[in-house]
């Protein structure tokens, strides 16, 4: 089969590419905001919306179905917010509950619909695991318009979304409307999820949000390259998965895309320079033991502990020398500590730690205890 001349394949590939780009780019911010579960809840919660729209209109036209799915997803996020605010249920549990309740309700509706002797319902179950081959030209047009709109808005609100993800409290202190921006971001995420429902399916759509971001984060330390890379990974796995599943009979698209994605993620987790497991393993092999605490400062601190009432009680160099290993250059060490502002002379050959020096010593002890525990 010739890919570029096959009309259906091109439609399928374009649709999957658009959704991969939108989900990958927006998913990067969701990932950085530790909201990966939100994508999962949103997509599962969309199912009853899809079923209800079909029950009401009897049609599977893309726009009404997507609006229904988006509304259901939005209701789910509002419900989660209400539960978190009004009760002691933590955020992730509330998300999990919303996911289960909405998805369960959607499955019940879907089973009821399928019992009807009505030919129009055929294919509705493809919303569960996705069937890219069933994409029509009008589906892809709607997906492309919405996906492009998402990406343009993301570009326009780039610095606001960066603030929202890195330090939204600081954004608030600058007078930027962070709550409204949070709402806009959630809306864009809903749209990105909804445009993928027919292709990837509600069950696995969250992988399109999370996985490209996770892989891209491994490969770069900067935001713009991460978002572009995540979008590219989304496009690649979306197109590959959709085309594969269209060519092999009865191969659902969602699981195929997820398999491609998982391969990329696993490879990046292992081989990514700097952050990858392999890299860390090599680095760990070379790792030196933690730098020794400055022994003279620690001795002086220990001595100062004997005189808690007199922070400036001086201690003799001779005492420090007996506490140090034979041959250690205690004078040189004191000189260095003096230059760093950690000790001060309080008389002839008498030394005491400064407040900063005391704290430095306390911190070193804390760090030591943490490491050994």
């Amino acid at each position: 089969m010739d890919f570029f001349s096959d009309y259906t394949l091109r439609v399928v590939a374009l649709g999957s590419g658009v959704l991969g780009a939108a989900a990958g780019a927006l998913g990067s911010f969701a990932y950085l905001r530790r909201q990966s579960l939100v994508g999962d809840a949103l997509s599962h919660a969309a199912l009853p919306g899809i079923a209800l729209v079909f029950l009401l209109t009897g049609s599977k036209a893309p726009l009404p179905i997507m609006i229904g799915a988006a509304l259901a997803g939005w209701v789910a996020t509002v419900a989660v917010r209400l539960v978190v605010r009004r009760s002691r249920v933590p955020y992730d549990s509330a998300l999990g509950m919303a996911l289960a309740v909405f998805f369960g309700f959607g499955l019940v509706l879907l089973t009821q619909i399928q019992k009807r002797p009505d030919a129009a319902q055929a294919g509705l179950e493809s919303f569960l695991f996705g069937q890219a081959a069933s994409l029509l030209r009008e589906d892809v047009i709607v997906m492309s318009v919405l996906g492009t709109a998402c990406l343009i808005l993301l570009g326009l609100l780039w610095k606001e979304f960066k603030l929202l993800s890195f330090d939204s409290e600081f954004g608030d202190s600058l007078g930027r409307p962070m709550r409204r921006l949070d709402g806009i971001f959630t809306l864009l995420l809903v749209v990105a999820v909804v445009i993928g429902l027919r292709t990837v399916g509600v069950v696995l759509m969250s992988a399109m949000v999370v996985a490209p971001a996770a892989a891209a984060r491994q490969l770069t330390n900067r935001l713009a390259p991460m978002v572009v890379l995540a979008a590219a990974i989304g496009v690649f796995s979306g197109v590959t998965g959709a085309v594969l599943s269209s060519m092999v009979p009865r191969l659902p698209t969602g699981p195929t895309i997820v398999l491609v994605l998982s391969t990329i993620v696993v490879l990046s987790l292992i081989f990514a320079p700097d952050r990858g497991l392999l890299w860390r393993w090599i680095k760990l092999g070379r790792l030196q033991p933690a730098a020794a605490l400055d022994p003279v400062l620690m001795h002086l601190y220990a001595l100062a502990q004997q005189h808690p009432n007199e922070p400036d009680h001086g201690h003799r160099v001779g005492v420090l020398r007996t506490m140090s290993p034979v041959g250690a250059d205690v004078e040189q060490a004191l000189e260095d500590l003096l230059n760093r502002g950690l000790v001060h002379g309080v008389g002839d050959e008498l030394w005491a730690p400064t407040p900063i020096g005391r704290r430095e010593a306390e911190r070193a002890i804390e760090a030591q205890t943490e490491m050994s525990s």
């Binding site: 610095k159 960066k162 890195f166 330090d167 600058l174 009432n309």
Partner: protein
Amino acid sequence: MVANDTPAMEVEDLTVAYSDQPVLWDIDLTVPAGDKMAIVGPNGAGKSTLIKAAMGLVPSVAGEVRVFGRSFAKGNGEIAYVPQRSSLEWDFPTDVLDVVTMGTYGSLGWFRRPGNAERDRARAALEEVTMGAFERRPIAQLSGGQQQRVLLARALVQEAPILMLDEPFQGVDAPTERAIVAVLDRLSDEGKTVIVVHHDLQTVPEYFDSVLLLNVRAIESGPVAEVFTEDNLRLTFGGRVGVLAQLAATVNEG
């Protein structure tokens, strides 16, 4: 400073509650312009909450905040905020210069991207905290002290007349502590007002002009020499009197 100068900040009857539990109770506070003030109190006293509530970052049940005599509104560039370092996610994919440039976002407005002018301001601020050589360093690779200096630089970029810092000396190394103190001194010399949530009682007399002793209520506030007394510390911190008595004694001697 002229005696009848308008105070930089006046807080009146500020009360904050989390789910009906008062966290701050009826706080009155006046911070003179050009003052370096420490906010001191035990854990859970509401120190961070106070500066956040004063800036409108957490909702308050009651109270009024005036800045230079006018009712305070977020986003007019009068207060620059340095949050607690540990409250941030430092594994975020960005570099030092980009974080400091965020200080210019308030004046940029919608849809405008930071350009060379903004980045130059950010570079100048980085030089002030001796982090000029680190502008391209990913923030995930910074030490605690370097992170703190980056956050201070981000606030300096805002060129606000008032700076509020939440525990800037928490877990930083000695050179960073000295660098921060030097910057705060310079700001104060330029007539800017600096308000710092501070946890180290020993350095209060050395670093600050005035102090607010806080434990849900404002116990006392004013110049360090007048307010930082054994009695007030006991009222603020309760039980651990022994240590505090010594501390107040050494302060009063010095």
